[in-house]
């Protein structure tokens, strides 16, 4: 039973971690997007 609960907690952590990673990439993209390789709106 305890294992089931721990698994849930770990999965929650992994999901939060993955979302954080996405947010970090998105934030970095704001910077990356400022380069010449951005979607150039002319």
């Amino acid at each position: 039973m305890k294992i089931a609960r721990k698994s849930g907690e770990v999965l929650r952590g992994v999901i939060i971690g993955a979302l954080l990673l996405l947010v970090m990439v998105e934030l970095a993209m704001l910077d990356g997007g400022a380069t010449v390789f951005r979607y150039q709106g002319f």
């Binding site: 039973m1 971690g17 010449v36 951005r38």
Partner: protein, 356 residues
């Protein structure tokens, strides 16, 4: 009241929705492992994949996948001759991909349109510095008043704005020669090239959301600012920018152009051809000044003669005022096709590409 012990599924759910130190540590551990795996596995070989070549060849002249095309060029080997276009958006729009492909495919050429909006000669130099050794073919370098009027500070910013990505041994050497500080490197490919790579991620996302990207030329084709107030605004702004920077910056930019020629000669078997990019005759007569433009062309022409490269200037013969969208970009696909056909013919006559 239900006193029965919760089932495994209920326990699992409880774990999912409650705060606990375990989930926080799991998140941290996940981030750490994900970053470590990414940092140690993603390198140039990882990026030089067939997938990325596929993207490059299927998105040959639009705005999103220029990074892909750059990496495809860097890893292209020297088996096939290459047709490389460097320059600003004027060159990008005027180079008709269908015409170039149809004309050169039979001769086995690989076509890389690596022009992008406001590309400086410094960025062109970087691209040339990454050409595979012994590459054959031709590099067209778009020149025009705006390309050689970019001042030292703006050029300096171009080195840092790409993160540590804009770096290679010959490029860094050239930067030191001109008193520029080469980009800082961490040694981790993923970090140093983050801006290139993130742009790729962004491009793929946009592609998924909005469908296949349009060719860059579609930003201009089908409309024109001639006779519109916007034309006057743009022309005035661009004229100011060029007039302000030209005299102070032209020497430095031509030196960078000299480096491009020298690097192409020492590292590859490719020929550099300077191409005066299209410019609206109305912009020249009403804003830039004919005298200024003629002096600019003479300067580039003298430079080309001095460095033993060809300088092609045929835009004026083939492109009338009404074919332009604004001060420099063409407004019609047919105009770009005609111009590119004439340009290829000229290159062929001068012996840079096979007889067409």
């Amino acid at each position: 009241m239900n006193n029965a012990a919760p089932s495994s599924a209920q326990q699992f759910y409880q774990g999912m929705v409650s705060h606990s130190k375990t989930s926080i540590w799991s998140a941290i551990l996940f981030l750490f492992i994900a970053s470590a795996v990414a940092l140690t596995t993603v390198d140039e070989d990882f990026v030089y994949s067939d997938f990325h070549r596929y993207l490059a060849s299927h998105a040959i002249d639009e705005r999103l996948f220029v990074t892909e095309r750059a990496y495809a060029l860097f890893s292209s080997g020297n088996e096939h001759p290459k047709f490389v276009v460097l320059g600003g958006s004027a060159s990008l729009v005027a180079s008709s991909t269908p015409v170039i492909n149809a004309s050169l495919e039979n001769y086995g050429y690989e076509h890389y349109n690596l022009a992008w909006s406001r590309q400086s000669l410094l960025e062109s130099l970087y691209l040339v510095s990454r050409l595979p050794e012994h590459s054959k073919g031709v590099i067209l370098v778009g020149v025009g008043p705006s390309r050689v009027a970019i001042d030292r500070n703006a050029l300096k910013n171009r080195i840092t704005r790409h993160g540590g990505g804009l770096t290679s041994a010959p490029f860094d050497e050239a930067m030191r020669k001109h008193d520029f500080q080469p980009a800082d490197k961490t040694g981790f490919f993923l970090i140093d090239n983050r801006k290139f790579l993130l742009a790729r991620y962004r491009a793929v996302l946009k592609n998924l959301v909005f469908g296949a990207p349009q060719r860059a030329v579609h930003a201009y084709f089908g409309a024109t600012l001639q006779g519109n107030e916007a034309f006057d605004k743009i022309a005035t702004r661009v004229d100011n920018r060029i007039a302000k920077g030209y005299q102070d910056s032209v020497d430095l930019n031509l030196e960078l152009l000299g480096d491009i020629i020298a690097l192409a000669r020492s590292n590859t078997e490719m020929e550099v051809v300077l191409v005066e990019h299209p410019i609206n005759p109305r912009f020249v007569s009403e804003y830039l000044g004919t005298e200024f433009y003629v002096a600019h062309k003479q300067r580039v022409s003298d430079f080309a003669a001095e460095h033993g490269v060809d300088y092609v200037d045929i835009a004026a013969e083939h492109l009338q005022e009404e074919l332009y969208f604004d001060w420099t970009h063409l407004a019609f696909a047919a105009a770009a096709d005609d111009y590119t056909t004439a340009l290829l013919k000229e290159l062929s006559t001068r012996g840079h590409i096979p007889d067409l």
